[in-house]
Subunit: 451 residues, 2 copies
């Protein structure tokens, strides 16, 4: 894909210089909107308004949607009012709402002025849904049928109105008071005979979500049920919109990125890495670093407290990093597994005991294996006497068990009290585990080595 | 959702006891296949063959596909040959292939015996594609049109054959030698007049993938282009199958889980956590733990080497955990950000310099902030003299810079030489950073404190 983009870029730049606009239009018309957006990012920005005007209207709108905010803003600022109106008219409502949410106030004002009254009303309505709710990602452009239509009437209805709908693959059936009463796929329509009533073809068991439902739940329903669209209803079960599968995919990727970032102690951001400023990345990383650095004060205090024991055996000091790292790694293995399980809904609070019992057995297997390998390694390399090696190996077993217990319990507890489990990943676990494993370590050392 | 499942479970168990099979059939018919599969997991397993027989044929097959391997195997072992044949006949080819891949040999033999000759041939053909390739996740049941058909002929064709197709939302156009020449959506068909030729409605620019393409690339194309299906062609551009969006979503979630597991030093597994045995989880975790534990030998050796300097100042020892943790956290922030960027194709090798320059500036901001806070914290708490506090704060700056450089460069380098960047996350980075930050630490301490 990358090579393809590079070659076509050169072609386009050359044709631009030669002012061969007809050929340019022909070439651009063969390219997919997502690729046009990528192309626009790379081409000299002063040429973009010209190129954009060369695109057929529908392709122009579709490509516009795929561009990132900065580029959209740049283009809008170059548009005449008329051009802006044309683009807005072509946009699906959910894309128009996304645009309004991202643009600065003065651009938003221009957009709303150019939109027709009905679109403006709908945009304003959609803007009221909370961020990351089903309402905020839905579109109101869906195919809406009545139960008493015949199949051929329904197909005629779709032919008349379908051009403006985001998808015709799934059609929804509502009664006179706009209650959602059925669903059928375009396949059901096409495979039925012309005079069948919709009520006889549709499936009356419709799975729907409320406008306020969290977008993560919406996305996981797509994964579970293999839907291509999901209806969104208000508090009175009236159909108000649909979420389409392409938006669900975006949510799935966004949520996975957010989880991963939180696990690495980064405050999540919507923007791709290369688009974020150094300072905004700094701001997303420094709070956790500061917090974790300061909480390491405890580990320092523990070491200072055991100063006398430590000065007797430098090997005890030398093993601190290994013990702390192993504890941290064990803890993050467990916490990350549990966090991912929770966010894919594979694990729930009622599984707590099963999880703990499983992690306990795993931690004994891991701890004993590590301890045995460490014991013989220390003796073979002559790093310690067998008594000291035993202290360190015993500590390993207890550290591994404790880390895995903390690693699996903290995320579940966080979820239970309404926090995001992803925050309970490696860095937090490491800090807790560090302090506790040092305490175990020095107590075992004191008991066995009598220091 | 969870509550719904619990209530219906009780109803079903009661009706089973009362042998009210007609009502049971009616209830089951209203439930979505994915929910039926979940229900079956929870109901007493000796009742499952009976319940399964109550399901309408199509729903039975669809629910069967949603169940996990163990349950499928149990049901198959209870099926008569005839029942097995009925289920297989209803399955889409890609689901049948998944089933054959998961079942033990003797069950596979029964399945292939009951499948008709053509299905058997197709299954065997699909089994030849490498694991995780486009070929292995595609289905061969797609709508195939000819360019010289009219729209009404095409709709008639879909009516005749569509019932067996996995999706009719997207139709593909092939010429006499099965070359892929165009694509059109069912919407294009419905919105066109009856006697238009397909060649005039279809879009001739079809984005397709080769059978051998990696499934991760396939999934990322769905995310990029908002497709609901993607055609798969062989080496001669002949259409051999399609990948549908529901399979792409599964791949996206699978790959995100794999990335997350690798970042936490876990060998990835296909199975959900609660389904894996303790020993198999142990096996997926212990290799990394062992490797990382043994590589911590270096940090131990460094500490031992600086024994004399350390015994002079216990505060230097007490700060080791804080320095190592901060280095590890900084490194994993960078590596995780870069790894996710690489896997979403937001960052490529050509961005290396931009990434390094960005991380360098971020690391200076983070390092200086942490150093200042640490310096004053140590003085205020009376933990160290200002000279020692300076040693530790200076080390912090260098450690943060070094960690972030290593954290961003290792994943890019891994990708460049063909390794999976996700493996270069926290645990590996921590181990490298630990050793290097200790070296920096002791050199600075020696220089400033003259020990």
């Amino acid at each position: 894909m990358a090579d393809f983009t590079t070659t076509i870029e050169t072609t386009i730049e050359t044709l631009l210089e030669q002012k061969k606009y007809n050929s340019l239009r022909d070439i651009l018309s063969t390219i997919n909107p997502a690729d046009i957006a990528a192309l626009f990012e790379d081409l000299p920005h002063n040429k973009l308004p010209l190129l954009f005007r060369l695109l057929p209207k529908e392709l122009a709108a579709e490509s516009f949607v795929e561009m990132d905010g900065d580029l959209q803003e740049e283009l809008i600022r170059g548009f005449s009012d008329n051009e802006l109106k044309e683009v807005i008219d072509e946009l699906y409502l959910d894309d128009a709402v996304d645009l309004v949410e991202e643009m600065p106030a003065n651009v938003v004002k221009r957009i709303l002025t150019q939109a027709d009254a009905e679109t403006r009303r709908l945009i304003n309505e959609m803007l009221k849904y909370p961020e990351d709710s089903a309402g905020s990602i839905m579109t109101t452009e869906y195919v809406d049928l009545r139960p008493d239509m015949t199949v051929s009437e329904a197909i005629k209805h779709i032919r008349r109105t379908g051009i403006d709908k985001e998808t015709v693959n799934v059609c929804y059936v509502t009664d006179a008071s706009r209650n959602l009463t059925g669903v059928l796929s375009i396949r059901d329509l096409i495979l039925s005979s012309d005079d069948t009533e919709i009520a006889d073809v549709m499936s009356p068991n419709v799975i729907s979500v409320n406008t306020l439902e969290d977008q993560e739940t919406v996305a996981s329903m797509f994964a579970k049920y293999s839907f291509t669209a999901l209806p969104v209803v208000d508090g009175e079960n009236r159909l108000v919109g649909i979420v389409t599968v392409d938006d669900a995919i975006d949510v799935i990727q966004e949520e996975a990125t957010e989880d991963i970032e939180k696990m690495a102690a980064i405050t999540p951001s919507d923007k791709p890495y290369l688009k974020q400023s150094v300072f905004s990345i700094f701001k997303s990383r420094i709070p956790w670093l500061l917090l974790l650095m300061i909480s390491a004060t405890f580990t320092g205090a523990i070491i200072t407290h055991f100063e006398d024991s430590l000065s007797a055996y430098i090997v005890l000091v030398a093993s601190i990093p290994m013990l702390m790292d192993t504890g941290g790694n064990c803890g993050s293995q467990s916490s990350v597994t549990i966090i991912r399980g929770l966010s894919l809904h594979e694990i729930s609070f009622s599984d707590t005991l099963r999880v703990v019992w499983k992690e306990f057995r795993i931690s004994i297997l891991c701890g004993v294996t590590l301890a045995i390998v460490n014991f013989f390694k220390m003796l073979l390399l002559g790093q310690a006497t067998s008594l000291v090696a035993m202290v360190i190996s015993l500590t390993l077993i207890f550290t591994v068990i404790m880390s895995k217990m903390i690693g699996c319990l903290l995320p579940i507890a966080a979820k239970r009290i309404g926090f995001d489990p992803a925050v309970m990943a490696s860095p937090i676990i490491t800090t807790v585990v560090d302090a506790m494993s040092l305490l175990i370590y020095f107590e075992i050392a004191r008991a066995i080595l009598k220091i």
